[in-house]
């Protein structure tokens, strides 16, 4: 079930955006009429940039979630599922330091 919520959200978004074509405002304004005149190689370049960036970020995101789900810190009575996120103290030689609230 983990990622089903995401898939549902993204799928819903795709249905609205694709279903509305060729309009950008349904019945009023066609997408082709309001598209910018930026040269297509620039569009291709930025699209590649966004896809690459977000592909890398989703890998990192899943990595972080997996790492946090494994609860790598020795925790007493505190979990990631209980209220605000807590990072308990770790030995001083690790980088985490304690102090006041963020």
């Amino acid at each position: 079930m983990t990622f089903s919520g995401w898939i549902a959200t993204v799928a819903g978004w795709y249905v609205t955006e694709i279903g509305r074509q060729p309009y950008v405002v349904y019945g009023w304004l066609k997408t082709a009429d309001v598209a910018s005149n930026v040269a297509s190689p620039w569009i291709a370049l930025t699209l590649t940039m966004y896809v690459t960036l977000y592909s890398a970020l989703i890998v990192a995101y899943i990595g972080v979630i997996k790492y946090m789900a494994e609860k790598p810190w020795p925790v007493e009575g505190v979990g990631f599922d209980q209220g605000p996120l807590l990072i308990p103290e770790v030995p001083a030689d690790k980088a985490q330091t304690k102090g006041s609230a963020l």
């Binding site: 620039w42 960036l53 970020l57 790598p72 990072i87 330091t97 102090g99 963020l102």
Partner: protein
């Protein structure tokens, strides 16, 4: 002047205010991001903690400014964002990277933390540099040609320097001990390029546009406007004198930050005076670019609710999180 005629002026003022607040607020946290590689691991945590409660709220001012540009001046939005397409995209990549790095660096395993720290630095630098490039092109009327690109490149270096200066002064105010001493040194390093950049803008804008030249260098306007450059120079000199003094580490640690903000505000007023009534200099006035009065009236109602709300939570968060920063922790 009728209310319909005044509406674009009101929105121009609001948009200018949002951009000014954005540049000052996100300016210091981007500056702190760009200073990261110069700090030790423990100092990095304190630096991030010092901007922790503010940085994402700071960015909402950019959303507000560009949002007003889109809804109140759609024609200008089209011209400006089409011309600056690539730097805008690069800025978004930068802001995305640092936003993610900000969150993940606190949760990452030790070997990965260095990567996120580096990405936080790269994202901050990329966002600041693209903004400088955009500012350079915007104030010379979005014209193309190698001279304009050269000028934009100079501003693309000067604006990050200004952010670093602001960020270092923020750290002087918000930290203590060794880090505070470092921050004084960093501020001194950034000071000269900022002076150079402001000088460059002051020379380039009248040179590029006859409208600006006439507005500044005709009598008696020239004398009436003299306080703006003089006060800017005094604020810059005052900030430098403070940085050279030991007293900056004590009770008046907020003064360099305040003086640099004064420089930003004065620069903003100088620029606003040069540009008005244009939204794209010599090409598009605010009345030519504005939405219809009927649309602007509806937008004004929304603005009257949202802008005070944003201003209120901004003031509130700075009050709550006043004082010196301590190490980062989620609790």
């Amino acid at each position: 002047m009728s209310f319909d005629h005044a509406l674009p002026i009101i929105f121009m003022g609001l948009m200018g205010l949002s951009m000014l607040v954005y540049v000052v607020l996100d300016g210091y946290d981007l500056g702190v991001g760009m200073l990261m590689p110069r700090a030790t691991i423990e100092q990095k945590d304190i630096m991030v903690a010092s901007i922790g409660p503010f940085w994402d709220a700071n960015e909402t001012w950019l959303v507000l400014g560009v949002g007003i540009l889109l809804i109140a001046f759609p024609k200008a939005h089209g011209v400006i964002l089409t011309n600056l397409y690539l730097p805008v995209a690069l800025m978004l990549v930068g802001l995305t990277l640092r936003g993610v790095a900000f969150e993940f660096r606190t949760k990452a395993q030790d070997p990965h933390k260095r990567l996120w720290n580096r990405l936080f630095f790269i994202g901050s630098g990329l966002a600041a540099t693209s903004q400088g490039w955009m500012l350079g092109h915007y104030i010379t009327g979005l014209q193309s040609g190698w001279v304009y690109n050269l000028f934009a490149a100079a501003i693309a270096l000067a604006l990050p320097a200004a952010y670093v200066l602001l960020g270092a002064c923020w750290l002087i105010m918000k930290t203590e001990g060794e880090l505070q001493v470092h921050a004084v040194r960093w501020a001194k390093l950034a000071w000269a390029p900022v002076v150079l950049g402001m000088g460059l803008i002051s020379i380039a804008t009248p040179w590029v546009s006859a409208t600006v030249r006439e507005r500044w260098f005709s009598m008696p306007e020239f004398i009436a406007l003299l306080p703006i450059p003089i006060m800017t120079l005094l604020a810059l000199a005052g900030a430098r004198a403070m940085l050279n003094s030991h007293r900056v580490l004590g009770k008046v640690c907020w003064l360099p930050f305040a003086l640099v903000i004064a420089v930003f505000i004065l620069g903003f007023f100088g620029l606003a005076y040069s540009l008005y009534p244009y939204v794209v200099i010599d090409r598009l006035t605010i009345w030519q670019a504005a939405s219809s009065p009927a649309a602007l009236k509806v937008i004004l109602i929304g603005t009257c609710i949202s802008v005070p709300a944003i201003a209120a939570y901004t003031v509130f968060s700075y009050k709550v999180f006043g004082g010196k920063a301590t190490a980062l922790r989620y609790a």
